[in-house]
């Protein structure tokens, strides 16, 4: 199913956690991939497991308490789950880079923008050429170039400032600059712009999109905001309770959702055109220590059938490049 080079390939991943109440089976056979240069969204509501999947992709899940009973995570063809931490470290910043949700807590408040940028640049160059020695002038030049590319006004002056002296939007731009300076092959963006105002967020997202397109950087965008996904991503995975409900081109899925969960989700989004809001999806997100069998959405699904309880539905193709994990479209187990 994966043509071309996948920079990130998660195959049938199961992730469990040992907690007070028992065994929390968060991810239940999640498969997703990101091709080189592709912009992919991973959408789901709180507790759907997207953050766990992301952390697994980054190799930052602590084990214990995490357990990986099955599945692989291939980052540029390296099996991240079975790699020693030192190997994973080598990939950070170079192969894979990340922007977090809250720019303020991602930046060290006691170092200036310049110091933090230089750090990242030096780190990247060291990995590339084994030579960490860069002249101060070269560092400055690179840093200023990067800050200019994220459209920060007066970058020379900004280098001397501390993160707290910048506005939220500027900090987010700085984070983007830091994440992209070493030209990673994959950028993981966790809820970018959530902490920002709408008009600022719009600017930042447009900027991010332009930058990654220009540099051919693949993006894995993790968010619960469907509008952001529509703006930024080409392809999207919809996750529910640790399972992938559907996958495909964004516009297609949003304009014509197939999976009952996706349908419920989209109808819950208030419309700018002012239509009456749907009543949401009945029921609540399941407890992972007692997760429903088969398709985990079945307790809340108005189309649930017997086989939905028995076995997890396979991903079937409903159109070119589009897949849904639902028996409504796959004709059932026995057929």
């Amino acid at each position: 199913m994966v043509e071309g080079k996948a920079i990130l390939d998660i195959r049938d991943l199961y992730v469990w956690f040992r907690v007070y109440e028992g065994l929390s089976k968060v991810l239940d056979g999640v498969s997703l991939h990101v091709q080189e240069g592709e912009r992919v969204g991973l959408v789901g509501e709180t507790g759907c497991g997207k953050t766990v999947a992301m952390k697994a992709a980054m190799g930052i899940l602590k084990s214990p308490p995490a357990q990986f009973p099955h599945g692989e995570v291939l980052l540029a063809s390296h099996d991240v789950l079975r790699m020693p931490p030192s190997e994973i470290l080598k990939m950070k910043g170079r192969t894979i880079s990340m922007i977090f949700q809250d720019p303020l807590s991602s930046l060290n408040p006691v170092f200036t923008v310049g110091q933090q940028m230089f750090d990242v640049i030096r780190y990247g160059r060291r990995r590339a050429s084994g030579d960490g020695r860069l002249t101060k002038a070269k560092l400055r030049k690179t840093a200023v170039e990067e800050l200019t590319s994220v459209r920060l006004p007066d970058p020379e002056r900004i280098l001397k400032l501390y993160p707290l002296e910048l506005s939220g939007g500027m900090r987010q731009r700085m984070l983007i600059a830091m994440a992209l300076v070493n030209r990673p092959r994959l950028l993981v963006a966790d809820e970018p712009g959530t902490a920002l105002d709408v008009t600022i967020q719009a600017q930042i997202l447009a900027l991010l999109k332009a930058l990654v397109n220009e540099a051919g950087i693949a993006v894995l965008l993790i968010t619960h905001d469907l509008g952001v996904v529509r703006k930024m991503a080409e392809r999207v995975y919809i996750m529910y309770a640790g399972q992938v409900a559907g996958e495909g081109p964004v516009a297609e899925i949003f304009d014509d959702p197939k999976h009952p969960y996706t349908q419920g989700l989209l109808s819950s989004v208030p419309r700018l055109t002012g239509e009456v809001l749907a009543e949401g999806i009945p029921g609540t997100v399941p407890d992972y220590t007692e997760a429903p069998s088969g398709c985990r959405f079945h307790p809340r699904c108005s189309h649930a059938m017997d086989q939905c309880v028995k076995q997890k539905p396979p991903m079937v193709e409903v159109s070119a490049k589009r897949h849904v994990a639902c028996y409504l479209y796959s004709g059932g187990v026995d057929e």
Binding site: E45, T46, R151, S167, G168, G169, M170, D197, V198, T199, I200, Q201, A202, Q203, H224, D225, L226, G227, V228, R230, K231, A251, F254, D255, G264, L265, L266, S267, S268, V269, P270, R271, L272, T273, G274, E275, V276, L277, A278, E279, G280, I281, T284, V285
Partner: protein
């Protein structure tokens, strides 16, 4: 037209900025700077804006969390600043608030029943422990929560459930007006939908009026009858939501609507063109002169920085605070007539 349940006239709220060991005042945060609007009985009035707009401060001043710096607020015709202790107590029961962040609006160290008992004890609702417990069960039922959760702590509840408890707490004193400060912004979209329907149902059942504060324009469009757009302490556009969204006039309103993340093609089509230059939102300590949006406005003229715009009523009930309001309105109407479509 009956008298509005809430009237805000020229509301001003400044916060002093203090510095030094002696707490000297060195500046003012002009959080709310001459804001006026009404809320009709049974209406949902939306207040939209981004950070620094002052929308939360308006709500918190109305519920008397902060004292006013200037202006007047009338509730059911009574002047809030001129209240006696009696009327103040009555007012607190009539006007309540639901806060934004479910994580912090409930005390993490108090059980649900303890949090809900507080308002009952304060106002002597329910004479005994048993009676209060019964009332709390009813309240929880009203917000569609099982009384199973009574002895639990907020950490055992999801965001949506916590907000329901926050709503129950506000309803415990039997108010007629609720200020809702971004009550669903921290929640998932499907949970938000459920809560919005809860709000709508409660409004009908309990004859409530809402001041609904949010930055989510689609949400305002969906549930508010009328709305006002705030920027750096002032209102720049106000009117019935239908009209507001069909013909947004102020460049900031247009920018705001254009920036709203949407999920369908139809919504993209109805969006106006954004009219701003790339830039940051200024701080309310030192807002720009004249129309505060002028530094970011792509069509600003010299008069925009010199003087505050006065309100222009471009259609029934639809007011715009912009020097070029008439010109913009004229071009909008022409477009509407010729193409029959809404916005661009």
């Amino acid at each position: 037209m009956s008298e509005p349940i809430l009237q805000v006239k020229n509301l001003v709220k400044y916060f002093p900025v203090r510095s030094g060991l002696l707490h000297k005042v060195v500046g003012q945060v002009r959080a709310v700077d001459d804001v006026s609007f009404d809320v009709q009985e049974g209406e949902i009035f939306g207040l939209v804006g981004e950070s620094g707009s002052g929308k939360s401060t308006v709500a918190k001043t109305i519920v008397q969390l902060y004292g006013l710096t200037g202006g007047t607020v009338y509730f059911e015709g009574k002047n809030m600043s001129a209240m006696t202790k009696q009327t103040a107590k009555w007012f607190r029961r009539e006007v309540q608030m639901v806060f934004q962040d479910p994580k912090s609006s409930l005390n993490p160290r108090r059980s649900i029943i303890s949090t809900l008992e507080d308002p009952l004890i304060i106002y002597g609702i329910g004479k005994s422990r048993m009676e209060r417990e019964r009332i709390i069960r009813t309240l929880l039922e009203q917000v569609e929560m099982s009384s199973r959760y009574m002895y639990k702590y907020p950490s055992a509840l999801s965001g949506g459930q916590r907000q329901r408890v926050a709503i129950a707490r506000a309803l415990a004193v039997n108010p007629s007006f609720l200020a809702l400060d971004e009550p669903t912004s921290a929640l998932d979209v499907s949970v938000q939908a459920k809560l919005i329907h809860l709000f709508l149902r409660l409004k009908e059942e309990l004859a409530l009026s809402y001041l609904f504060i949010t930055h989510n324009l689609s949400l305002v469009r969906t549930i508010a009858a009328r709305a006002a757009v705030m920027y750096l302490g002032k209102i720049y556009e106000l009117g019935p939501t239908d009209l507001l969204f069909h013909h947004p006039i102020h460049p900031y309103t247009k920018t705001l609507i254009a920036a709203a993340p949407v999920v369908t093609k139809e919504e993209e089509r109805v969006k106006p063109q954004e009219m701003s230059k790339e830039g940051e939102i200024p701080s309310p300590v030192n807002p720009p002169s004249g129309c505060a949006f002028h530094p970011r406005c792509s069509v600003a003229q010299s008069r925009c920085s010199e003087a505050l715009p006065s309100p222009v009523e471009i259609e029934a009930g639809h007011f715009v605070w912009c020097h070029q309001a008439q010109d913009f309105a004229a071009s909008e109407s022409i477009k509407a007539e010729t193409t029959g479509s809404i916005g661009r």
